[in-house]
């Protein structure tokens, strides 16, 4: 139990490289399957349930996210600490992405699709303020935000462990890179 809590708090501190890589790859494949099953396009800090996706689209999208985050954080890691290893950065990205796959379950029976579609229609017709928000929608939104915060937290502590980053400018660059990569990846994935 203590080990499990430690794993939730900081999996990068207590787990070996091999177990992190194996777990990360298995979760990454599960993520692709879930994204296809629930028809959700992952774009780092956002998801899009409004597009029709083939398994190839999803694999390419997930690989873009994985490689983009790994490359940019590996470069930043090397600048901060030349001892930074590619494997640690890859593990950090693979494991951090895992909680985001839980968001896919919010599209069971096309729930998320319907909610966003209704909102889009309301915006077009100018009646966005008349939309009634159910308690369930609020719970789902809070859950999504919590999962996204946990993803950023895992990415952050994974990066700190991999690079031994301690200075403020390291943290500023970390967050700046996250938001820039998110924007670039979204653009790239949407253009596929």
């Amino acid at each position: 139990m203590k080990r499990l809590l430690q794993f939730i708090k900081n999996p990068f501190e207590i787990s070996s490289d091999k177990s992190l890589t194996t777990t990360g790859i298995i979760l990454f494949i599960i993520g692709i399957i879930l994204a296809y099953f629930f028809q959700i396009q992952l774009q780092i800090l956002r998801v899009n349930p409004l597009v029709k996706l083939t398994i190839t689209d999803i694999i390419i999208g997930h690989l873009i996210i994985l490689s983009a985050l790994t490359i940019v954080y590996f470069i930043l890691g090397k600048i901060i600490n030349r001892k930074t290893r590619l494997l640690d950065i890859l593990n950090m990205v693979l494991i951090s992405l895992a909680p985001l796959y839980l968001i896919f379950f919010e599209n069971i029976n096309g729930y998320m699709y319907e909610e966003i579609h209704q909102m889009e229609e309301a915006i077009k017709s100018g009646g966005i303020l008349n939309i009634k928000t159910s308690i369930f929608s609020v719970i789902i939104s809070v859950l999504s935000i919590s999962i996204t915060i946990y993803f950023i937290y895992l990415l952050f502590i994974g990066f700190k462990t991999a690079t031994n980053a301690k200075k403020i400018w390291h943290y500023v660059l970390f967050f700046a890179i996250l938001f820039i990569t998110d924007l670039l990846c979204s653009g790239l994935i949407n253009s596929i």
Binding site: I14, N81, K83, T161, N164
Partner: protein, 90 residues
């Protein structure tokens, strides 16, 4: 009980120095002012780390598996210790 060697002043927390050494056999006493060796200036946790590092022949991977922590965590601890020792102006 094995007495723990104090390295910090309990009053102002400055590092202590050795001012007296004695021979247990003939009771000869040497007095002076000698700085503590580097190893003793480190915290007990850091001393334990160095000992582990030595016993694993300097293999950080083996240390990580023995301590049940990840390789980058051990490497970070080593880097922090190297910095600490450099800061001691040795």
């Amino acid at each position: 009980m094995k007495a723990k060697l104090p390295t910090q002043c309990p009053s102002c927390e400055t590092l202590l120095s050795v001012s007296q050494l004695s021979c247990e056999t003939c009771q000869t006493v040497v007095q002076g002012n000698y700085p503590l060796p580097v190893f003793l200036k480190l915290s007990p946790k850091e001393q334990e780390f160095i000992l582990q590092f030595f016993l694993t022949s300097g293999s950080l991977k083996e240390m990580a598996s023995q301590l049940g922590i990840s390789y980058p965590t051990v490497r970070n601890q080593l880097d922090d210790m190297i910095q600490h020792i450099k800061d001691l102006n040795i």
